[in-house]
Each structure stands twice: as C-alpha cells, then as structure tokens.
Amino acid sequence: MRSGSANTVFSLLALLLASGCEHKPVTRFWTSMDCNFTATLHGTGGKVPAEEALDRVQRETDRLDKLFSDYDPASPIHVLRGRKGDTVTVGPEIARVLRKALATMHGSGDAFDPGMHDLKQLWGIGTDRGHVPSTDSVKMFLVRRYGFLPGPGDTLPEPFAVLPDDRVVLRTDSLPIDLGGIAKGYAVDRLSNLLDSLGWPAHLVQGGGEIVVHGRKPSGPWHVGVKNPRRLDTVVGVIELREGGAVSTSGDYERYFDSAGVRYHHIFDPRTGHPARSGTISVTVLCPTSMDCDAITKPFFVLGPARSRRLADSLGLQALWIREDPRTGMCGRATLGWNSRLDSRLAVCETDW
C-alpha cells in the first residue's frame, strides 16, 4: 500500500477510535421524597466510580426524605406542630429551608405560604379522595391559619419565625408545615454538590419538576425541554444551557382532580384557600439554584405574569408563563432575555394576564 493511502487509513481509524471511545453517560432513576429522581454523570475520572457516586446520591435522597417528610411522625419536622409560642430546635438544613420559605412568602407578597398542609389535605388533591370541600370548611381553615378571612390587600401572618441560632418560634397552634414546595429543590442542590465533591462535575440531577445541570457536557450544551402542559409527552420549547443552572416547572397537570368540568390542582392561592385561578397552566423558571427555582415557581404560578414579572426582574430570574388560548390552544409570555435560551414552538400571548 502506498504511504499516502496508509496515512489516510491511519487518520480515519484514529478518528473512528476517538468517536467510538466517547464516554457513555451513566444514568440512574429512582424514587424518593414522593417523586422520581434522575442523576446522569458525564465524563470520566471521578474520585469514586460512577456507580458508587450514584449509590451515595441515592442514599442521600433517602436521608433527606426522612428529614423533610411530613407524613413520617419520626421526622424532625414534626416538632413544628407544637403550640403557638413554643420555641423548638431544628437542624441547620431544616432551618435553611424554613428561612427560604419565609423569604419566598414575604418576597411574593404572600402568594406562597408553607402553612397550607392541612388545606391540601382538606381538598385531597393528588389522592383518590379529591373533592371540592364546603365553603365553610375552607373559611374555617383560613380563619384558623390567619386569624381572619384574608382579602386581596391583606398581609398574611407568617406561621413561624426562624431565630439566628436555627431555633424556630411557632406562631400558630398545631400547624403542620408543608415544605414540599422547597425541600425538593434543596435536595437537588445537595445531590449536585455531592456529585461535584465526588469528582463528577459534569452532571444532571432531576427530582420531579426540579432540574440542575452542572459543568460542561462533553458532547455539547445541555438541552432541557419545556413540557407541553396539555400534551405531557411533548414539549413546547427547548432551553439550551452551556455550563449549568437550574430549571423548574410547576403546572396544573401534576396533581389534580376534575369535577363538573373544572380542574382543581395542587398550587393554592393562600388568600382564597382554593387552587390558584390566575389563568396560568404552567410556569417554567431559570435560576442559579434549584431551591430558588422550586420556591419561586409556586408564587409565579399564583400571580401570573402581570403581577410577578417585576419580581422576576428584581430577582434576576427568567420565566415563561403558559395559559390556554381559545385561538391557538395555548400561548406563553416570558421575561426579557428568555428567548435567547429558548427554541420556542409556542405561540406568544398578546398581553400579560
């Protein structure tokens, strides 16, 4: 064989070997914290093998599940069901999530309240006994929770206060605290940090609707889909992230029941005690951390774009709200800057709502 042809063959074989040796990502799927988790590791050279790293991540979700569970009587979070005026001790992790909950409540003008656990139980959302409760029973909850029936401009009292030493002062009698709206985001951040410390910087972690991508994926940018809220197996757009970030979506399709043609979902307006009726059917937010995202999607859903756009801008977050539209089926409105990251297949609504 002539030397020129030999060189060609050698070059092409080297290219073939290089392409064949591209390291296949390692993924694990499991359930914990009342949702499905996914972790995908890219690249090579971790401090521990990929499977061992995933074992440790999975064990960490089991620990966090026990820590934040509001159904397990042995969970440390149950000390929060004490009497009004009690001061109880929680660990630093619970205190951190509680602080985030209060900050979200205040920052959103009380469009979020971590003290709505019993209200969700009353409606039975996401269970096989979902029903519309009587108006009186909803009013009774609101009066018990706030001390009055809240109106549109009222400031709502916080359910607890967190002291600098991580002790918690209870402000309502026997009130179960629901951290489901934030603890999952905290968990996803924890798992991402753990993988980074184990020498796997290029990874994806998903817990339910919370996603963190971290580091550079060897094969190119990360692509995160925006779920179509009315055809759940399709997407209405794709977000491209080059180095990392968090994405969270909340929608009326996650946990709900239908009654007399009306959908009753799991994202509540604290002022009415009913599932939020802003017109929004889904909201997706881009944030620096998953806990930020997890916390803010709920008030963004409750408020809709007209009332939460300024909050999103002040926090430096990008968000996409989707609502049903009689003309196009559904349409969306987004914050400025969103379109630079979105391959959108979604019609744009003419105005905020």
């Binding site: 060609t8 499905n36 096989d128 339910g208 889909g225 969270s248």
Partner: protein
C-alpha cells in the same frame, strides 16, 4: 514550496469503508440502538422491552405489588397499579426519549431510553 498532495485512486474507497465502519460502531455502541422502555426498581434496572415490537402487556413486581405495563408500538404506559393515587396510570403513554412514568409508592420508574442523538433532550422537568 511544498506540493499539495492529492488523493490516491484507492483513497475514496478507503474513506467510504472506514465511514461505514464508523457508522456501524456508532450504532452498535451501548445506548445507540433503537428506543426501548426500561423498568427501574429502587434505582436498578429490572426489565426492558423494545418499543418497536408489537404491543404487549407484562407484569412488574413493585413494593406494593404487581404493576401491569403495556409496551410496544413506540410507546409505554402503566395500565394497572396497586398504588392508592393512580398517578402513574393517569400519566398515560409516553414515547419521547428520556420521558418517564413513576409509581412512587411502588418505587418503580419506567424510562424511555435509546439512540442518543446529540440534540436529544437531557431532561424535561
């Protein structure tokens, strides 16, 4: 001045041959074959089916008992589950790469896996 070397008479055939070999290697690599549904229990794969096969039902043992999974014809869905809220049954069928159905009380996740195109979605929240 250095002369520019042109391709020899056999080089195009060599390029085609190596290209065909590369295409074969890409498709034969793990994860490069057709779409399939994989069932995970407690994070470990316990069953998988080719979605290009005709539609069929199989039983999977989860923490709460047996789930019936219908797979084939390009999609997968859970049709029966012993879990109390039936969220996984209500999720319906999925067909997109990386889409999932989870039955949390049973610790079961069903995932669509398959050909990893570079523009495939990494996740859908």
């Amino acid at each position: 001045m250095k002369a520019i070397r042109t391709l020899g008479p056999f080089d195009p055939f060599l390029i085609l041959a190596v290209g065909a070999l590369a295409a074969w290697a890409w498709n034969a690599a793990p994860g490069g074959d057709g779409d399939r549904a994989v069932v995970y229990l407690h994070g470990k794969p316990v069953a998988w089916w080719n979605l290009s096969d005709p539609t069929r039902r199989d039983t999977v043992r989860g923490d709460l008992g047996d789930l019936v999974v219908e797979h084939g014809g390009g999609q997968v869905r859970i049709v029966e589950s012993p879990c109390p809220h039936q969220l996984c049954v209500r999720a319906g069928a999925v067909r997109a790469l990386n889409s999932q159905i989870a039955c949390v009380p049973s610790s079961v996740v069903v995932v669509i896996e398959g050909s990893s195109r570079k523009d495939a979605l990494d996740a859908v929240p």
